[in-house]
């Protein structure tokens, strides 16, 4: 019985350590735009280093061209990142919608972010009526509305 408890605790500690260390990279799945600048200055992000940045697609910032699209990713604290993307957009990609982009800054870091993957990030609110930010706060206490972020 004692040996069982002992080996069980050992196994549990091993699993937890494995999970936490393995998840260290996954734990920060993306930077917020406001963090990107500080991280670049601190030397945490280097040119050509693959990172992910997550925020909202700034309304009115989407510029489509033949080669691809250029848009601005922003967050609640007014951090901004310009993103250039040439692939196929996810269905739900839209202005005001959450998005996580994955790619690199060029050697000319701090300029445009070259994304090769875009994931739409949605919140945890479900409602049959479209709610804007204040309505969502009233109904659910908080939330990430899509469509408009005002």
């Amino acid at each position: 019985m004692k040996r069982t408890i002992y080996s069980l605790s050992l196994a549990f500690i091993a699993i937890v350590w494995l999970v936490f260390s393995g998840l260290k990279e996954a734990s920060l799945f993306f930077y917020f735009p406001i963090e990107v600048n500080t991280e670049i200055k601190a030397g945490e992000i280097e040119p050509q280093e693959r990172i992910r940045i997550g925020g909202f697609v700034s309304p009115g910032s989407i510029e489509t061209s033949e080669e691809g699209i250029l848009f601005t990713l922003k967050d609640d604290e007014n951090g901004l990142v310009e993103v250039w993307y040439t692939g196929i957009l996810p269905d739900m990609f839209a202005e005001g919608q959450g998005a996580v982009v994955e790619g690199v800054f060029d050697n000319d870091i701090d300029w445009v972010f070259f994304a090769d993957a875009i994931f739409v990030k949605h919140g945890e609110e479900y409602s049959k009526e479209h709610l804007d930010k204040s309505e969502m706060k009233e109904k659910f206490g908080s939330g990430i509305p899509s469509g408009t972020i005002e």
């Binding site: 999970v19 996810p90 990430i144």
Partner: protein, 217 residues
Amino acid sequence: MKNQSKKWILPAWFITLILVDFGILYWSPPDAAQNMGTRVYMMYMHVPFAWTSFLMTVLGALAAGIYLWKKENDWERTSRAIIEVAAVSAFLTLMTGSVWGKITWGTWWVWDARLTTMLILFLLLCAYLIVRDMHGSSYEGKKTGSIIAVIAALNVPIVHLSVNYWRTLHQGSTIFRQEGPPKIDSDMFVILLTCFGVVLWWAFSCVKLRLSGSKNG
């Protein structure tokens, strides 16, 4: 007479599932809070299987724990039947989640904290099944399996809290949250609970059928 009624459990459940599916499509409002529209219907399968996998893992681990304590084979058989259902539920959670991810996020998989920890839980449940299969009736095999079941159950809170503790692509908790009411319309919530009831019914039916059939196994 008793055996006859057992035969009807799974077909009855299957018919209920079909009816519930049509019910979802007919009654359930498409989501407009996040422009998800009809993509939200995946939630009605994904969330119940996720909850079921967590619940079954914990119940199976409880039974396994009692087996480790009392060493009575009946508890071991019960825990094995429950963990089998937990493994299938976890697998279906990952599958339905993957489809939901593709149609909303735009990708079948990402290595974020929620998906990774859920995969680890599924792999632990698979490890249990493999160990029990390899060491059919030996005490060592039953003991090892039971320990794995307990470890899997300890993993469940990690999976659940992963979206709150770490920054993930997967959205945060809608219903089981630290503070505030569930962030879901009440009619959608009712449909979700109905689907959860159907999946739970399936889960417990499977366990019952498994236990009645494996008396000698």
